[in-house]
């Protein structure tokens, strides 16, 4: 399958790979998986006192498109508020990476990872 240049770039030089302490109250953790292909994605956001995402890290076990989608998302969310980050949609992700239709679920996975992380942060700080 032909990957787009942007996917290959993120796949070969993934941004922000790693983990934060998930028990830290300022850390939001989103764990999601795609049953269609068995891919697993962990997205973590570090939120500052003003509710702004100051840093993001990811760990993804999956295909190139899943890795690229999560890598891209870590770049996009930095500097955004949780509300703004929650508006990032899979269509933006798949358009940016020029994902083929069979790989759309990878961008859905990344979108859902952001949402799951936001939910985690809210329940932690409720």
């Amino acid at each position: 399958m032909a990957y787009s240049e942007k996917v290959i770039d993120h796949y070969e030089n993934p941004r922000n790979v790693g983990s934060f302490d998930k028990d830290d109250k300022s850390v939001a953790t989103g764990m999601v998986g795609a049953p269609a292909c068995g891919d697993v994605m962990k997205l973590q956001l570090k939120i500052d006192a003003n509710g702004i995402i100051e840093d993001a890290k990811f760990k993804t076990y999956g295909c190139g498109s899943a890795i690229a989608s999560s890598s891209l998302v870590t770049e996009w969310v930095k500097g955004k508020s949780l509300e703004e980050a929650g508006k990032i949609s899979n269509t933006e992700i798949s358009a940016e990476l020029a994902l083929p239709p069979v790989k759309i679920h990878c961008s859905i996975l990344a979108e859902d990872a952001i949402k799951a992380a936001i939910d985690d942060y809210k329940s932690k700080n409720a």
Partner: protein, 169 residues
């Protein structure tokens, strides 16, 4: 005619694999394109379609995950092409830990890899047993969730096999 009927098997999750393979060979012989070479176009086309259907049915029925998914579809819940994500955090954390473990194995870990493969195989069998029970009880949503989990376990098994090939072959 559904795939089970095509193979004269009961629509059950537990399947007689020997009978499945035997019936597959018999059906293939019966509908082999060579046998219809002298017939008209329409008959040849029908035989070819039948032959394709037999192959699809065999691929579906012999695979524990696809078979479960197919019975679920016959019961009215089709999850074959679903795009939804799974958000069971504990389950996914465990998957993540296992994938990390597999990624960190080296050729010095032969015994650990073997023990780990056995553990995973056992968990896959347990999951298949749960799927069988859930299908018998006709709890479709529970079955669907178990199938989704099975897919992650099967992916893990594939990764383990690839690793073993890379390290030891």
């Amino acid at each position: 005619m559904n795939y089970f009927e095509l193979f004269s098997l009961p629509t059950d999750y537990s399947i007689d694999k020997t009978r499945l393979s035997q019936t597959y060979r018999d059906l293939q012989k019966q509908y082999h394109p060579d046998k219809f070479a002298m017939q008209d176009d329409k008959t040849r086309l029908q035989a070819m379609q039948k032959s394709t259907e037999i192959n699809d049915a065999f691929e579906t029925l012999k695979d524990s995950c696809l078979r479960a998914q197919y019975i679920l579809k016959l019961s009215g819940l089709d999850i074959e092409l679903e795009q939804r994500t799974l958000q069971d955090t504990d389950f996914l954390m465990q998957q993540m830990e296992w994938r990390e473990k597999v990624a960190d194995f080296t050729e010095d870990d032969e015994d650990e890899i073997e023990a780990f493969s056995k553990d995973i195989s056992k968990l896959v069998s347990d999951l298949e047993a749960d799927i069988e029970t859930a299908l018998k009880n006709k709890t479709l949503e529970i079955t669907a969730n178990l199938i989704r989990k099975l897919k992650f376990m099967l992916k893990l098994q594939v990764e383990l096999e690839l690793l073993e090939e890379k390290l030891f072959d």
